[in-house]
Amino acid sequence: MPPGDLDKALCGLEFPTDKNVIIGLDRADDAGVYKISDDLAIIQTVDFFTPIVDDPYWFGQIAAANALSDIYAMGGIPKTAMNLVAFPIKDMDISVLRQVIQGGLDKMKEAEVVLIGGHSIEDRELKYGLSVTGFVHPDKILTKRNLKIGDQLVLTKPLGTGIINTAIKAGLVSQDVIEKVTRIMAALNRDAAEVLKNYPVHACTDITGFGLLGHLAEMVCDSGIGVQLNSSQVPIISETYEFASMGMIPAGAYKNREFREAMIEISPLVDRGVTDALYDPQTSGGLLICVAKEKANSLMDELRHHKMEDSAVIGEVIPEPKERIVVV
């Protein structure tokens, strides 16, 4: 749901809690964290959606990679998963569901996660996703907070999947571009999460439905600091610009802009297609890592060494203007 609408629904509700809740709904992050003992906490998350690509096997892979991503973004290791399935059994051949689940299973195997259950319902439209539980040391949780002035912002996957998925629905995208984007969305954020454990990382999140600027805005809100984003450094899938100029922009991108534009200042020199990509809702996007300045270059080297060639330093945490994002 669009960010503003969800706030309206939840505003004022009281959520049950106890002393072991480290991260709950009162300070919404990528996932919830619950302390089991002094050296173990569990991270829980759930995510599911309707197909974004036509191929059911790849849809399963993407949905699983997307659900697992929240665990990685919080510094944890995913351990167990449950399937969530909604299926139009009267209109669709059951073999489609089998392929979706096979895609999800292959992704779970890659992530060394075990599937221990699930739930399915009949629905008019196919939906698939996972509920995932991961482990983390209570002192090593990465959140959206704790940004320090001078920190460098690193993004590990290119933007533009929302715009290109819209163009795919419109039948405008060539097969090789569909394959390229599918591979980007299906890629686990595991390797990036492994690499960053050896670096002074102060905050981390994964880029999904709110777009880069929406998720960055969550980091900047109530933080007392600001962020400068260097738009020319942001990795963007090259076909994004063409489809954006044709009006292939998902409705969510406009909602993201409307919700956050008051705290964002975009230089008029920034190309419109780039701005579109910055607000574009992502499916299974990359990690946005906030790392101490002096280690940013070596982190970049190691990410590239681990085949994350699109990774880039895209901005810096600045003292002023407070709680605003300046895009140059």
Partner: protein
């Protein structure tokens, strides 16, 4: 004029309907009715990418995007005479935070008075463009900030030059108006009936 009803459709369907209509026949003018902001912007962009000039009208809850094929227009299209009741389009281009040369203190006083009196132009005042030192009128320290905010609340579009904000390191300090670029400024001048430079 070809009319396309794309209400109730989610993106990218309104664009696709428009695209299909353009492909089936050569259209000089097309009207697309949508019911959400995203569809409006997407259809507008699509038509522009196809070489149409666009305008948007509000009709109740509906948004109507009208596209006119620029190629079929005269190189210098004749201005359609406007009805007497239509307000004029006056653009004020203000490149300073003081009026006139000589005494700065007096210049500042005149500027405060000038901005405060602008409301007398009523709806004829269409755009206020602030460039160079003029952008300093939009920050907290500006003595006319409240007046500008009132003008904006009353429907005046205030365009503030982004290059100038950047030059003076005032990004993020602007408290009124929309950040703009030279293309928007030049377009506003072209569409205006009258441009007044301060």
């Amino acid at each position: 004029m070809k009319e396309i009803d794309a209400r109730g459709l989610a993106c990218p369907a309104p664009v696709l309907q428009t695209k299909a209509a353009l492909q089936s026949q050569k259209l000089a003018e097309v009207k697309v009715i949508v019911d959400n902001e995203g569809a409006r912007q997407n259809v507008k962009r699509f038509l522009e990418s196809e070489g149409f000039e666009t305008a948007v009208q509000k009709d109740g809850n509906d948004l109507v995007v009208i596209g006119k094929c620029s190629a079929t227009l005269q190189p210098h299209p004749q201005k359609v005479p406007e009805a007497d009741t239509e307000p004029k389009k006056i653009v004020i281009m203000c490149a300073t935070d003081r009026i006139g040369f000589g005494d700065d203190e007096l210049g500042l006083k005149l500027m405060v008075n000038f901005i405060g009196t602008l409301k007398e132009m009523g709806p004829d005042l269409w755009r206020l463009v602030l460039v160079n030192n003029g952008v300093k009128l939009t920050i907290d320290e500006s003595p006319v900030l409240q007046d500008l905010k009132r003008l904006e609340d009353d429907g005046l579009t205030i365009l503030v030059c982004g290059t100038c904000l950047e030059h003076f390191d005032l990004f993020g300090k602007k408290k009124v108006g929309e950040t703009t670029n030279m293309l928007d400024i030049v377009t506003a001048m072209q569409l205006a009936d009258n441009v007044i430079t301060i």
